[in-house]
């Protein structure tokens, strides 16, 4: 096997794993642009993975599986929106709890299905990877060239300014978080319906955490998320591929170690390029200074 083939192979597989990363990252970027951090990506993804698998298995349509994944992702995110926007609880704690909840719930529901292969999977190089890239462009255009985009970004930068202009900050944040959760659900669904068409407990294996870091790495820009997702997808794949030469444990750590490295670099040297939405993570209460 030639080197070129090997590299091409790695890239193709990297794109396959990059797809859920991209969908998840786009959802997280969308929610964070409205000022809400959702650390529940891992939980929303695993729920999406399970419901996609179950729906696809029961109905025979993998497309319906992805739809179910989007719905469950949106519902899980709705919970996060309620706790963090309406109750104004700490977003980070709420998101972490959602991740734990999702992992636990999916494990519980999926007991009887453990290890089942999906009878009618989507091909891995299906419509989802190109659709993800298209979605990234669409979200970019939405953010920067539409009225809704200005509203969404303002809510994330300065909710007080948005409120003073008569915009319903809570509603915008709800919509953004729920839409973000739907994308995370689809990302999880892709894993169980296309990437590895089966159900295994914990099959997301930490991808959801990488997604959170990707939103930062891409500096909250949907277009940069494409490249970032491809890079991390490739890294993930390499961690399997290089096992012939290197013991698996350090390899499995690689994407996560790289995540920390990237965040450290961003924090140290990228102060200007990596500026987060100013109100990110902060609950909004009218009249509070």
């Amino acid at each position: 096997m030639g080197v070129v083939d090997w590299i091409l192979g790695v890239l193709v597989r990297g794109m396959a794993l990059g797809t859920p990363l991209l969908w998840g990252a786009l959802g997280e970027i969308y929610a964070e642009r409205a000022g809400v951090v959702n650390l529940g990506v891992e939980g929303m993804m695993i729920l999406g993975a399970f419901f996609a698998f179950a729906a696809a298995q029961l109905t025979g349509h993998p497309g319906l599986g992805l739809l179910a994944a989007a719905l469950i992702g949106g519902m899980a995110a709705l919970l996060h929106a309620f706790v963090s926007v309406t109750l104004r609880a700490n977003q980070f704690v709420s998101g972490l709890a959602l991740s734990m909840l999702g992992l636990g719930l999916a494990g519980l529901l999926g007991r009887g299905w453990e290890g089942f292969p999906l009878s009618n999977p989507l091909p891995e190089r299906s419509i989802l990877p190109p659709l993800g890239a298209l979605l990234a462009v669409a979200i970019w255009a939405l953010l920067y060239h539409t009225r809704w985009g200005i509203i969404l970004r303002t809510v994330g930068e300065s909710p007080a300014a948005a409120d003073a202009m008569g915009i319903d900050v809570a509603l915008v944040r709800y919509l953004a978080v729920v839409f973000g959760g739907m994308l995370a659900g689809v990302a999880g669904g892709f894993l169980s319906v296309a990437y590895r068409p089966s159900w295994t407990e914990g099959m997301t294996g930490g991808i959801g955490w990488i997604v959170v870091a990707l939103a930062i790495f891409a500096s909250w820009d949907p277009l940069r998320a494409i490249g970032a997702a491809l890079l991390f997808g490739t890294l993930f794949h390499l961690s399997f591929r290089l096992q012939a030469w290197i013991p698996p444990e350090p390899l499995q750590m690689m994407p996560f170690a790289f995540t920390i490295l990237v965040l450290a670099i961003a924090a140290r040297w990228g102060a200007r390029a990596w500026r987060a939405p100013e109100a990110l993570g902060l609950p909004y209460l009218r009249g509070e200074r």
Partner: protein, 516 residues
Amino acid sequence: MHPASTPSASPLVPPGAPVRLAVREIRKTFPGVIANDRVTLDVRRGEVHALLGENGAGKTTLMNILYGIYQPDAGEIVIDGREVRVRSPRDAIAHGVGMVPQHFLLVRRHTVAENVALGLSGTRFLLPVRGVEMQINAFADRYGLRVDPHAAIWQLSISEQQRVEILKALLRGAEILILDEPTSVLTPQEAMQLFGVLRRMKEEGKSVIFITHKLDEVLAAADRVTVMRKGRVIDTVPVGMASKPQLARMMVGHDVDFQLPARHPGTGAPALVVEDLWVQGDRGLPVVRGVSFVLHRQEILGIAGVAGNGQRELVEALTGLRRVERGRVTVLDRDVSRWSPRTMSKMGVAHIPEERIRMGIVPPMSVTENAILRRYEEPPFSRGPLMDYVSATRFAQQLIVEYSIQTPSPRTPARLLSGGNIQKLILARELSHRPDLIIAAHPTYGLDVSTTDRIHRLLLQRRDDGAAVLLVSEDLDEIRALADRIGVMYGGELVAVVPAGTDRETVGLLMAGQRV
């Protein structure tokens, strides 16, 4: 905006002009405070109506009620003859009420056009900014509010940002425009320009409510003035029939003596020498750029300038809170450029910080603990690892009497004190040990007239006792009243140091970056 130099404000609202906005018997309480007590006032069509009062008089609360930020406990709002309920800013806007808040609500990273487009309902979904840019330019010409629609907010000066806020309100069809302390961030010349804009709006039949605590501005810009004190309306009078002492008496509740003790001639040895000082701002860019000056004992050097021209970073560098990138700071013949805030304070540099609650005190700790914050680890306040609260309390009680700090007891948490008493506590702590150098940033910001006067006298007294005082303030009147020399900062540079008697206009031009 000195009355003498002001083109007379056209005060002629037709006396019979219809009332556009009326508030009746508005009441609003916060825990422990009655912010608005049966407030009644009316604003006519084509009128600039000043709302005059000290900080804490309830002006901003009233305006927040009009704009839907707060809900009143009782009372009614009548707009164009109909009683309305204003539950949110959205309602206010629908009724034609616009507000320019004191702290601007702009998205710093967005462009002017994006900030304006946000509030416009008529804009199209796709590419909304293009049409808005044309509208901005049209309104800018009409009212003399020039601003580049493509510029990002963070690139604009404060007065340009204020123009954006006004444009935002006007483009949304505001007929009643509320301006909350609009001149506090402007140079005198910029304030005059703003009054011109208000006059043009008035000519078009709009109503303007102009909140301020500065008497000269009322006389220069308003048609009628409503004076508030402690949550109540004292009176509403036509400006033509009001005099400055009369308004001051209504605002404060007693006669005001504007005279400070006579200037002390002669200065002593250099206490603070700053040579070619460079300091970085929070964004990593140089914001203090090659500042040099000498401050002597028995001298107050005032630093004037519009906010954000490097004053904050200068103070932080001089007190050891911010790194000195280049240059040298010498205090009493010692190079302190690399010293920590603690060593600075140990060698007798007093710091009255800009943000009194965030940096001046530890809010949940008691008055006593805050009073010994500088010297808690020295006898008599502590012996070894143990605190001696008896002597600490005795010391605090002494300060409470000497500086007339209003507090229920020395054990009261400092956060429960009013702003003025918090500031007196800080001054008591910083000045009680007879510092050689006092660095005071906005020492009277937001305080009432009598506390301000008290603090001014304290600073003057310390100067006469031989201390050197660096007084940073945005209030040009304060600087002109206290300083022996006035330095002006613009764009991170100390553009000039002028003698105390220099007129307002000259200092104002320097503040705007013009070389005189």
